[in-house]
C-alpha cells in the first residue's frame, strides 16, 4: 500500500537557489532573540564557503509585522520592499537572501502580485522614484537563508563534528521541524518541497544524521499570527495554537524543534515556558521542555561552534539536555559571560526548567 508517495509529492516542488553573490536582508527580531544566527550565517557563507554576501546598512525593516498587524497599507510595504530592490540594484546584485520568513512571504507575495498586476508594479516604480529618486530591477531569485543552508547541507555534513545522533543510545535524534506558514503555505512553489512535506529543514536534519518526526499537527501554525500576539488580550489564542502542536508532538518524544521563521522560533520557545507557568504542563521526554533551535544554530552546533557563541543562552528552554545528547562540550560557568567577559546576568530560572544552574536571587530579569 505504501508507495513512497511522500517523496513523490515533495519532488514536485523544487526551486532555483542561487549559488553565489547574495544581497542579504536581515530580520527585525532575530538579532535580539537568537543573536548568533545571522552572525553564524554570514561567517559560514563568507569564511567557510567563500561566498559573496553583501549587506547594506541602509536596509530597513520590510514592515511585515506592521502589515500583518493591520497598520501598514499594502502600497506602503510594496514601496519599502521596492526600495530594498533598489539598494540591491545599485549594489549590482540579482539574488536576495532573506533572513526572515515573514519578509520572505512579503517578498514572494509582492513579486506574485506584480506578476499578475503589472500596473501595480508600474505604480510602485513611480512612487519610489517620487519618494526617493531611486528605481529598481526585480531580483532574479529570492531565497530564504534556510534555502541556502539547505543547498549547502552536504558541505556542512562533510565538515560535521557532531552528527545528530544521541550519544547515549546511538540512535538518530528525533527532530520536529516547523517551516512557518509564510515560507511555503502561501506559495508552495517558492519553498523547497512545498507545504505538505516541506524539505527545507527536513533535508538538513536527514543530511546531518537526524530523523524527522511527522506528527499530526506538523502543518499547524505556531500561533504567532501577528494580530493574535500583538494584542495582549489575544495572546491566549496564540499560545493555544502552540499548545496544540506541543500536545501533538509530545508522544513522539522529540529531542528538539527546528524552526525556520523568527516568529515561530520565538513562540515555540517562549510559549512552552508560558504554558508551564499557566498550566503546569512541561513538555519534553526529560520534563525540561523541548529545546528550540534555528537552522543556523543547528548548523553551527554540528560544525562544532561554541553553543554560547551561537547565542543559545538566550533561549527560554535550556538547551543543555540536547548538548549532552550530542556530546558537545560547554562551560556552564560561561553561559552568561560574553566573549568580552561581561556578565549579561543570570535569568530567573523557572522551577519547571531548573537544570541545576544557580537559582533565583542573582537574576537580572532576562526575558
Amino acid at each position: 500500500m505504501e508507495n513512497n508517495n511522500q517523496k513523490f509529492i515533495w519532488r514536485e516542488y523544487q526551486k532555483e537557489i542561487a549559488d553565489d553573490h547574495f544581497f542579504y536582508v536581515r530580520s527585525c527580531i532575530r538579532q535580539a532573540f537568537f543573536p548568533g544566527s545571522e552572525t553564524f550565517f554570514l561567517s559560514f557563507m563568507r569564511n567557510q564557503l567563500g561566498k559573496d554576501v553583501f549587506e547594506d546598512a541602509r536596509h530597513t525593516t520590510c514592515t511585515g509585522i506592521g502589515f500583518h498587524g493591520d497598520v501598514v497599507p499594502h502600497e506602503t510595504i510594496m514601496t519599502v520592499v521596492a526600495r530594498h530592490f533598489a539598494l540591491m540594484t545599485e549594489a549590482g546584485y540579482r539574488h536576495v537572501a532573506i533572513s526572515c520568513v515573514t519578509s520572505f512571504g512579503i517578498y514572494s507575495e509582492i513579486l506574485e502580485t506584480w506578476k499578475h498586476f503589472p500596473e501595480i508594479e508600474e505604480k510602485i516604480h513611480q512612487k519610489l522614484i517620487l519618494a526617493t529618486g531611486r528605481d529598481f530591477n526585480k531580483p532574479d531569485t529570492i531565497a530564504h537563508t534556510s534555502d541556502i543552508i539547505y543547498k549547502f547541507r552536504n558541505e556542512v555534513a562533510a565538515k560535521m563534528k557532531y552528527p545528530l545522533i544521541n550519544l547515549n543510545t546511538g540512535e538518530p535524534l528525533k527532530v520536529v521541524e516547523h517551516i512557518g506558514c509564510h515560507y511555503s503555505k502561501m506559495f508552495p512553489q517558492y519553498g523547497v518541497g512545498g507545504a505538505e512535506f516541506p524539505q527545507v529543514l527536513a533535508g538538513m536534519i536527514k543530511a546531518w544524521g537526524g530523523e524527522v518526526v511527522d506528527y499530526p499537527e506538523r502543518r499547524h501554525c505556531c500561533g504567532f499570527g501577528f494580530r493574535q500576539y500583538l494584542v495582549q488580550a489575544n495572546r491566549g489564542y496564540s499560545a493555544a495554537n502552540s499548545k496544540k502542536k506541543f500536545d501533538s508532538m509530545q508522544s513522539y518524544e522529540p529531542d528538539f524543534i527546528l524552526c525556520n521563521c523568527p516568529g515561530c522560533t520565538m513562540f515555540m520557545d517562549k510559549w512552552q515556558y508560558t504554558i508551564a507557568e499557566l498550566e503546569d504542563t512541561v513538555y519534553g521526554k526529560e520534563g525540561l521542555g523541548i529545546p528550540v533551535l534555528t537552522y543556523e544554530e543547528l548548523a553551527g552546533l554540528v560544525l562544532g561552534y561554541d553553543p554560547w557563541d551561537l547565542g543559545l543562552q538566550m533561549h527560554q528552554i535550556p538547551v543543555e539536555t540536547l548538548l549532552d545528547k550530542l556530546g558537545i562540550n560547554y562551560d556552564p560557568e560561561k553561559k552568561f559571560i560574553t566573549q568580552k567577559g561581561e556578565n549579561i546576568g543570570t535569568p530567573l530560572i523557572p522551577q519547571h526548567y531548573n537544570i541545576g544552574l544557580k537559582t533565583a536571587g542573582t537574576h537580572s530579569g532576562c526575558c
Binding site: N3, F8, E196, D214, Y215, P216, S251
Partner: protein
C-alpha cells in the same frame, strides 16, 4: 439471410458480458474483446454486493455460465488501438494488424477507480493505515481485517466522496455507488468485527436504489454504524500509526477530531483508460465528466455520435450493477434495431423525429 451480422463488444466486465449474451441470443455473431487475461472486470475483486450482500463471485459465476451457454467468441488479452471505417463496416486493429471487421461496435470499457493518492491530504500511499474501499474488499475476501501493526482495528472510519463531487481533483460528478458501498462495507465490518466501532463521514447520503435507504436504516438500527455529516479535511498519522482525522461535525457546528485505526477512502469512479483511448480512436464525444457522451440521456442512452458505435455500462456514467445490466440489455436492443433498419428507414426515422419535435415545438 445467410450473412449473419457481426458485432464487437469491447470490454469483458459486467456490461460487456451481458451485452454479448443478449446480442448472441438475438442471433448475432459476437466477439467479446477484453484487454486483461480474464473476464469479470472490477466485480472480480469484490466480496459482496449491495444491497442484498450477495457474494460477488456468485453473481459473476451466473453471468459467466450464461455467457458460456452462448457461442460468443471470447478474446482476452487483446488491446484494440486503432479503428477504421470501410464503407459501412467498422475495422478494429490489434497492434498493427487488422483484428476484425464488424457491423457494429459496443463500447463497454467501463470505469477505473479514482487514484486515492491524488487527494494527498488523506495520506493514501503515505500512511499505512489509510486504504481504499477496493483495498477493504480485498481484506474482506481474505477474511482478515488488520491494521499495519497486525491488530484488529478497534475503530474504522469510512470517508465518502473521495475523488467525487470534488472540483479540486477535477471531478464534478457523483460516483453514485460510494454511499451505498460505504453502508454495505460498514455492515460487513460490524459483522466480521463485532467489537469494532465504524464511522461514516459523509456530505450527503445518496440512497438512490431500491432497498438502499432501508439498508442505511439497518446500518444504524441493527449494526450501530455511526454517521457524521462532515467532509474530512485532512488525515495525519500518530506515533502509533493510528490515523488522526479532522472534520467539521456540521450538525453540531463544531470541529471534530478522532483517531481511527483504519481509514477507508471510498474512491469514486472515473472513465477507464480504455474508455478514454477507445473513445478518442473512434471519434466519440465525451461528456463534461470525461465519460462517453450518449446521444440522449432519456431515449438514446446507448447511442453515440458515431453511427454503428454504441455504449454499454459505466463507460457512459457511473453505474451500479443493476443499472449496468439494464443498460447492457438496452444496448443490445439498440444495436439490434440499428442492424435491422436500412439506411432509408433510418433517414426517414430521423425525419419523423424531427417533424415530431417541430410539431411539439409549434404546439
Amino acid at each position: 439471410m445467410t450473412n449473419i451480422k457481426k458485432i464487437a463488444v469491447l470490454g469483458g466486465g459486467v456490461a460487456g458480458m451481458e451485452t454479448s449474451i443478449q446480442l448472441n441470443r438475438l442471433g448475432y455473431q459476437v466477439d467479446l474483446i477484453e484487454i486483461e487475461d480474464k473476464l469479470g472486470g472490477h466485480v472480480r475483486n469484490w466480496y459482496k454486493l449491495f444491497p442484498d450482500h450477495k457474494p460477488a463471485d456468485e453473481f459473476l459465476e451466473k453471468l459467466i455460465s450464461n455467457l458460456s451457454a452462448t457461442d460468443v467468441q471470447i478474446k482476452t488479452s487483446i488491446q484494440i488501438n486503432a479503428f477504421l471505417r470501410k464503407e459501412k463496416k467498422l475495422c478494429l486493429f490489434d497492434q498493427a494488424c487488422e483484428f476484425g471487421v464488424y457491423d457494429a461496435v459496443v463500447v463497454a470499457t467501463g470505469f477505473d477507480l479514482f487514484e486515492a493518492y491524488r487527494k494527498e491530504e488523506y495520506g493514501f500511499g503515505i500512511y499505512k493505515n489509510v486504504i481504499t474501499s477496493a483495498g477493504l474488499e480485498t481484506m474482506f475476501l481474505g477474511k482478515t481485517i488488520k491494521t499495519s501493526g497486525g491488530n484488529v482495528p478497534k475503530r474504522v472510519g469510512l470517508v465518502h466522496c473521495v475523488g467525487s463531487r470534488d472540483e479540486k481533483c477535477g471531478n464534478l460528478h457523483c460516483s453514485k455507488v460510494c454511499c451505498i458501498t460505504a453502508v454495505k462495507q460498514a455492515i460487513t465490518l460490524r459483522q466480521m468485527l463485532p467489537n469494532t466501532e465504524v464511522f461514516c463521514f459523509y456530505m450527503d447520503m445518496r440512497m438512490f436504489g431500491p432497498s438502499y435507504e432501508e439498508l442505511y436504516r439497518e446500518a444504524q438500527e441493527k449494526w450501530a454504524v455511526r454517521f457524521i455529516r462532515g467532509r474530512i479535511s485532512e488525515a495525519a498519522q500518530n506515533a502509533d500509526e493510528t490515523i488522526l482525522i479532522k472534520t467539521e461535525d456540521t450538525l453540531t457546528g463544531r470541529q471534530l477530531k478522532m483517531n481511527v485505526d483504519l481509514l477507508v477512502l471510498m474512491v469514486g469512479m472515473l472513465p477507464s483508460k480504455g474508455t478514454t483511448v477507445i473513445g478518442k480512436k473512434t471519434g466519440l464525444d465525451f461528456g463534461m465528466n470525461r465519460f462517453l457522451k450518449v446521444k440522449d440521456e432519456h431515449y438514446h442512452a446507448n447511442e453515440t455520435n458515431q453511427e454503428g458505435i454504441f455504449v454499454a455500462g459505466s463507460a457512459s456514467a457511473p453505474m451500479n450493477i443493476s443499472d449496468t445490466i439494464s443498460h447492457a440489455r438496452a444496448a443490445a436492443t439498440a444495436v439490434d434495431h440499428y442492424l435491422k433498419t436500412t439506411d432509408h428507414e433510418r433517414f426517414s426515422e430521423k425525419n419523423n423525429i424531427r417533424n415530431l419535435e417541430k410539431a411539439l415545438h409549434e404546439k
